[in-house]
Structure formats: structure tokens, C-alpha cells
């Protein structure tokens, strides 16, 4: 079994078989992570560059750990500022890196579309680690893995993405991946945070958080990204918390089993109350562990394709 595309640019249009293969492979690696020696020789001799044009701690560390556990050689390239401002063009940077004979590039960039652009200028396998407000496919996959871990399936589940959907790459990857797997996906947030025509993607829109809680099995709660001007789209984080924050009172009112996901880092007291963030419904730290397993699966499947 192998994937149908040699890059992972997003979950848009990725066939169900591919998603299933990644999730199944991730389960194997999840077991490896529980062993005393967490390293396998699968990608020995492969060189992977982590090309990060935007600050990221957890995604970069997660990818790096996944690469090390697969015995790949990894190099980190972090550009604090955009290539446009630095003088060297992005293309020249990539060509320089490519000249050092790399097999795979994991890229994060503030502009949507950079991973696709990379496939046109590089021969390496490209993995999107987040491009602008477009996609973050490995986050989508680890969310799917975490939901499946709890419910044993994805098909037929009701999953709501809560928060600044319009300015989230996590939301789109979740929507595309989950819908392909047969889940019912909805979004909930103030209208300033819901992107235009999202309903045309077959996504239900909730404006009331209680209704969203009542009708869903999973809430994937997005971070309110004040660093991305989220403050312009809501009057205050206090008001956001009051009307859209997930609190124990809100959850208990419905007295039902519900799974809370959060891509991190959490703003405690904003999108989640501390009680919920540490409470019985959430699997936030488990998501982080699953993230390493899912990224190992993606790296393994892409890295061994050309053999």
C-alpha cells in the first residue's frame, strides 16, 4: 500500500484510502512511542529539511522528533523574516537547500500556497506544516486520529470546530479530512470569524455555542489568536469567553459524553476555562503525542515511496 501523491500539501481532495492508510500507519508508530527504545531505522540515510518561515515551537519539535525517531538526518532552517524582506528570494533559498541534496522538505510559511509553489521549484517530497490561513494537514490528521482513538470511528460523528475559523488553517484541514471520512462537520463562532460561503462546503454553521454543544460529539476548539489580529473581530476576550468559551457549566448542562480537542497553545479563560482544559473531556496532551505518531506515519509513507 502506498499514498497516491508524493507530497502532503493539504487534505483537500486527498482520497479516503490515503487518509485511512496514514491513520492506520500512525497507530503502529503510536505503539512504537510506548516502547522503551522509541527509534526505528526506517528513514536511515534520508535527509529532511524543516523550512520554517514562521515561528512555531510545537509543530517544529513534533516534526523533528518524528524524524529522529525514524532515524532520518534532519536540518532546521528558521527564517524569522520573510524572504521578501531578506533580500534573497524564496526560490533562491530553496535552490540552495536543494543543492545540498535533501529528500524531503517540511515547510511552514505565512503565505498560503507556498507548499504548492515548492513542488514546482524542488524535486523533494513536500510536507505542508502550515501555510497562511490555508491548511495544516498533519494537524488535521492528528485531530482525526485523536477522535478515532476515542470513538473508534469517524463516520457519522458530529464534529464542531469552534472559534476563529476564518483565520485558521487547522479548521480547513479538519473540514476536508473529516468530511472525506464521512463525519458531519460544523463550525461555531461569531460571524466575523466564519469565512464566506463555508456552508457551500457542506458545513453547518452554529451561531450559538450551547446548540453546538448539544448537537455534537466532538468540539475542536481553536485558539483565539490575538497575534493574528483576532482582537479586531471581537470586542474583547472577556466577551468572547462569555458567549463562546467552553466552560464546565456549559458542558454539564448537556450532561453528555463529549470530546474536547484543542490544537494548542491554549488561552486559558478565553476559548477554554481552566477546568475544561484540565478536565475529563479533553485529550489535549494526548493530541500532542498522537501528533508525533501521525507525522512519523506521513514521513514514513512519503519517504519510502520512491524506493
Amino acid at each position: 500500500m502506498s499514498l497516491s501523491n508524493r507530497h502532503l500539501l493539504g487534505l483537500y481532495g486527498v482520497p479516503k484510502e490515503d487518509l485511512q492508510l496514514i491513520l492506520d500507519t500512525a497507530r503502529t508508530f503510536r505503539e512504537v512511542l510506548e516502547r522503551p527504545i522509541k527509534r526505528v531505522p526506517t528513514l536511515q540515510g534520508k535527509t529532511i529539511v524543516n523550512l520554517f518561515y514562521e515561528n512555531s515551537t510545537r509543530t517544529r519539535i513534533s516534526f523533528e522528533l518524528a524524524q529522529k525517531r525514524l532515524s532520518a538526518d534532519t536540518v532546521n532552517f528558521s527564517a524569522g523574516i520573510s524572504s521578501a524582506k531578506k533580500g534573497e528570494t524564496f526560490k533562491d533559498t530553496v535552490r540552495n537547500i536543494e543543492a545540498m541534496k535533501v529528500d524531503m522538505i517540511v515547510v511552514r510559511h505565512q503565505s498560503a500556497g507556498v507548499p504548492i509553489y515548492l513542488t514546482r521549484i524542488s524535486k523533494a517530497n513536500i510536507i505542508n506544516a502550515g501555510d497562511g490561513l490555508h491548511e495544516h494537514p498533519t494537524q488535521g490528521l492528528l485531530d482525526m486520529y485523536s477522535i478515532k482513538e476515542k470513538y473508534g470511528k469517524l463516520e457519522g460523528l458530529n464534529i464542531c470546530i469552534v472559534g476563529d475559523v476564518a483565520h485558521s488553517r487547522v479548521a480547513l484541514s479538519n473540514i476536508y479530512g473529516l468530511k472525506t471520512m464521512g463525519a458531519n462537520v460544523s463550525v461555531c463562532g461569531p460571524a466575523t470569524m466564519i469565512p464566506m460561503d463555508i456552508d457551500l462546503l457542506g458545513v453547518k454553521v452554529y451561531s450559538n455555542i450551547d446548540a453546538a454543544i448539544a448537537n455534537n460529539d466532538v468540539l475542536n476548539v481553536l485558539r483565539i489568536q490575538l497575534e493574528r489580529d483576532a482582537g479586531k473581530r471581537i470586542p474583547s476576550v472577556r466577551e468572547y469567553h462569555k458567549y463562546f468559551g467552553i466552560t464546565s457549566e456549559r458542558l454539564e448542562k448537556h450532561n453528555k459524553d463529549i470530546l474536547i480537542l484543542h490544537p494548542g497553545p491554549i488561552n486559558r479563560g478565553v476559548e477554554l476555562s481552566s477546568e475544561v482544559a484540565d478536565g475529563p473531556y479533553q485529550v489535549i496532551l494526548n493530541q500532542v503525542t498522537n501528533g508525533v505518531a501521525v507525522r512519523m506515519a506521513v514521513l514514513y509513507l512519503l519517504g519510502t515511496m520512491n524506493l
Binding site: A84, S111, A112, I116, M196, D197, L200
Partner: protein
């Protein structure tokens, strides 16, 4: 020198001229139409242009020649060469150069650079100093130096107050204000806001950013009695606003670019920066609306917004790449392919939108096909099928999304200012 365009379809709706005949040009002046003698043929260079069309020379009223300031991207010379190759005998160039065209000196500089060429260059000058929207440019001086209209192109004139003054002050010399209609507070994006921008996760500009300024400008034109020309109209509502305004008698005209009647924002799925322009490519609904506007005359003319950019600037991460694409060398082909061949407009309307209306908007005389007139002509073949090849462009830049596209309709030759461009070269006639 005498030349004869043999059995050519002479087409000028302005003169109700639509017939096939021989056209004799002597020393760049139209000498005779039809009734030519054997001796005329013997003493002339004869061009076998049967099945080709000959109309007043086309004029593109919205091009960026980049000179002064960005001569690495385009110059008056390369831009006018591209115009000639595309079938144009005139261009109006926009003032967002470096420095801006906001002094008589810069207008004269451009006129000097353009002197002696086949293609006439008509500078559009800034409406406000440095296009900043605060104080009026020296409009009267600019007009006297040769500016044919005023615009802060790249942005709209910032406030209704300044726009009012620009309309009123320019009334004395009757020029139009050309507006790039976009509300700045809604314009922070890389593409049109739609389902496609939602899917692509690109920051987006909604239609209403254009609609708002079109509405404001129409109201201000009505209030002041000024002449407003809407540049590169792209949204459905804006077309409708202009349609209603024309019915009310407001002095408004509008242009559309070939890319806005050809492409929709779905093209951006490739993340190719050659589809990044401002106004952004809109939805299919908007494309249909601008075509409808062209059909019913709401949109008066086709202009390319020819915007050369260097390869290193355009080949960039999407959100950092500059807006704009080349237009001069593909627009006739796109207009024939997308408008005439799809039966939206006739060839006669095409000539109106390329040759006649732009000149009327800029208060320029429309060339006539009559004995005694200086020959200012575009000769084109609406049936010629060709493949766009940017490497053969006369333009100094290469940023076109239409590379390798199959088009029908191409210019064969242009004649103006006692010069002819034919088979890839200029020569005196």
C-alpha cells in the same frame, strides 16, 4: 511612398463604414478608397489583406509604461512596441511611476520619450500630489503639458472632499477623472473574497470594496457634474450601478480588462502569482455581469491595465507578490476569442470598444478612414488562430497567465504617424 491595402474590409462604425475595397495610402495619408487604376497598383507596394479588417487605430487607455522609475520592467519604447505588436496605435499611460506623473515636467519627459514613434502616448496625470489624496496636483499645468485625464490609479482618490475639488477644478478643461475604485479599509487581501478564497485560505477583498467607491464616485459626479471614468470594473454590482447612473444622465464611462471578462477567481487554485491582480479576479457571476455590461454598452471600452513586473518580483510567495499582468499583446485575441466568437459582441462593437470610445472619453479625435486623413489604422485578422508565447513578447516583462493559450484573432499591422508595423518590424511609409 504609396501603399495599397488590397480588398480589405474597412470597418468604422463611427462613419457607418463597413465595406470591402482597396485603400490607397500615400506618404502616410489616406489618398483614395476604391476605384484604383492599374497604374496605382504598379506604382505602389500592394498588401494582399483580403479577409482582414481595417479600422481606426486601437487605443488602450490604461497601461503602465513604468518609465520613469522602473525601466527594468518596461520603458516607453518597449511598452509602445508591445502596443504596436498588439494592434494599438495609441496608449494612455498611468501616473503611478517613480516619480509620479504629478508635474508638467514628467508629462513632457514622457511625451519626449514617445516622440517620433508610431504609437501615440497620452499621459494620465495624478489627480492629487504623489497620489496621496491630500491636495490637488497642478491639474491645469498638467493638462496644458498634455495630460488627457487624471487619476490616482493604484488607489482611489482618498476622500469625497478631495474628489469634489478634483471634479470641480478640472471642469474648466473638460477632462475625466479615472478612478481605481477600492475602499482601502476593505482591501487588505490577495484575491477576491468568495468560496474560493475560503478554500484557499488567502486573505481576500470583497466586491463591496469596489462597489462602495463606485457608488461614492457616481454620487459625487452627479453632484458636481464632473466626468467619471471607472477603471477596470470587475464586480457585478458596480456594473449595475454604472448602468443605472447612465440612465440618470450622470457623466460616467467604464472600462473592463480582458482578464476580468475571461478568468474567474477559480484560476487561483494553482497559486500562480500571474493570476494575482487588483481588482482581483472575481467569480463567474461577475464575469457574466461584465460581459453583459459590454453587450449593452454599460461598459464603453476594453483596456488592459498592462502591468509589467520583473520575474524576481512576481515569482514570489503569493501574499508578497505584486498585483498585475501584461495585457497589450493578448487583449485583441482575448476579446475576439471570448467576446466576438462567443457572440457577445460584433466586430463593429469591438472596434467601438478598442478604437472609438476610449478616444471619446479622453477627448481625442477619432481617426476617420477618409481621403485626406492621416492613416491611423489597425489591420487585424479575426480568424487567425495563434498560440501566445511570452518569450516572443515585445514587452520587457513576461508576467502573463495566458502563456501558451490558444487564441483566435490577431493584429496583422498598424499604421500611424507615417509609419507602419508589419511582420515584426517598423518602417516609414
Amino acid at each position: 511612398m504609396k501603399i495599397i491595402l488590397k480588398q480589405i474590409n474597412l470597418l468604422n462604425p463611427e462613419q457607418n463604414l463597413n465595406k470591402k475595397d482597396d485603400l490607397l495610402i500615400e506618404n502616410g495619408v489616406i489618398k483614395q478608397i476604391g476605384g484604383l487604376k492599374e497604374t496605382d497598383f504598379k506604382s505602389s507596394v500592394v498588401y494582399e489583406f483580403e479577409n482582414k479588417f481595417c479600422s481606426p487605430g486601437f487605443l488602450d487607455m490604461h497601461v503602465h509604461l513604468r518609465e520613469p522609475g522602473r525601466e527594468d520592467e518596461e520603458t516607453v519604447e518597449t511598452g509602445t512596441n508591445a502596443a504596436a505588436a498588439g494592434g494599438f496605435t495609441g496608449v494612455a499611460c498611468m501616473p503611478n511611476t517613480t516619480p509620479d506623473i504629478d508635474s508638467a515636467e514628467i508629462v513632457r519627459f514622457i511625451k519626449e520619450k514617445a516622440a517620433g514613434r508610431l504609437v501615440d502616448v497620452y499621459p494620465v496625470a495624478c489627480a492629487t500630489l504623489h497620489r496621496k489624496g491630500d491636495s490637488l496636483s497642478p491639474m491645469y499645468e498638467l493638462f496644458e503639458a498634455g495630460a488627457v485625464a487624471f487619476s490616482d490609479d493604484g488607489v482611489a482618490i482618498k476622500t469625497a472632499g478631495v474628489l469634489r475639488n478634483a471634479f470641480e477644478y478640472s471642469r474648466n478643461f473638460g477632462t475625466a477623472i479615472i478612478e481605481h475604485c477600492e475602499e482601502e479599509s476593505l482591501a487588505d487581501g490577495s484575491m477576491n473574497e468568495s468560496l474560493t478564497s475560503t478554500i484557499l485560505g488567502l486573505p481576500a477583498i470583497p466586491n463591496v470594496a469596489e462597489d462602495l467607491i463606485v457608488a461614492r464616485d457616481l454620487m459625487m459626479a452627479e453632484f458636481t457634474g464632473g466626468k467619471i471614468h471607472i477603471a477596470h470594473i470587475s464586480s457585478k454590482n458596480a456594473v449595475d450601478f454604472v448602468r443605472q447612473a447612465k440612465k440618470k444622465g450622470i457623466k460616467v464611462t467604464a472600462e473592463v480588462t480582458p482578464h476580468h471578462f475571461t478568468l474567474s477567481d477559480e484560476s487561483l487554485k494553482s497559486f500562480d502569482t500571474n493570476y494575482k491582480m487588483n481588482p482581483p479576479l472575481r467569480t463567474r457571476d461577475d464575469v457574466e455581469a461584465v460581459i453583459e455590461g459590454l453587450k449593452d454598452g454599460t461598459i464603453d471600452c476594453i483596456a488592459s491595465d498592462h502591468a509589467p513586473h520583473s520575474i524576481e518580483e512576481k515569482e514570489m510567495e503569493f501574499i508578497f507578490a505584486p498585483n498585475g499582468i501584461l495585457g497589450l499583446e493578448t487583449e485583441l485575441g482575448l476579446a475576439v476569442t471570448e467576446l466576438v466568437n462567443k457572440k457577445h459582441i460584433s466586430l463593429s462593437q469591438l472596434v467601438g470598444k478598442f478604437a472609438i470610445n476610449p478616444r471619446k472619453i479622453l477627448n481625442l479625435q477619432v481617426p476617420q478612414i477618409n481621403p485626406g486623413e492621416i492613416a491611423n489604422l489597425t489591420i487585424f485578422d479575426p480568424e487567425l488562430i495563434w498560440t501566445v508565447d511570452v518569450s516572443k513578447f515585445k514587452s520587457k516583462s513576461k508576467n502573463s497567465p495566458f502563456d501558451m493559450r490558444l487564441l483566435t484573432g490577431k493584429s496583422v499591422a498598424v499604421i500611424n504617424n507615417h509609419k507602419m508595423f508589419f511582420e515584426d518590424r517598423f518602417f516609414d511609409i
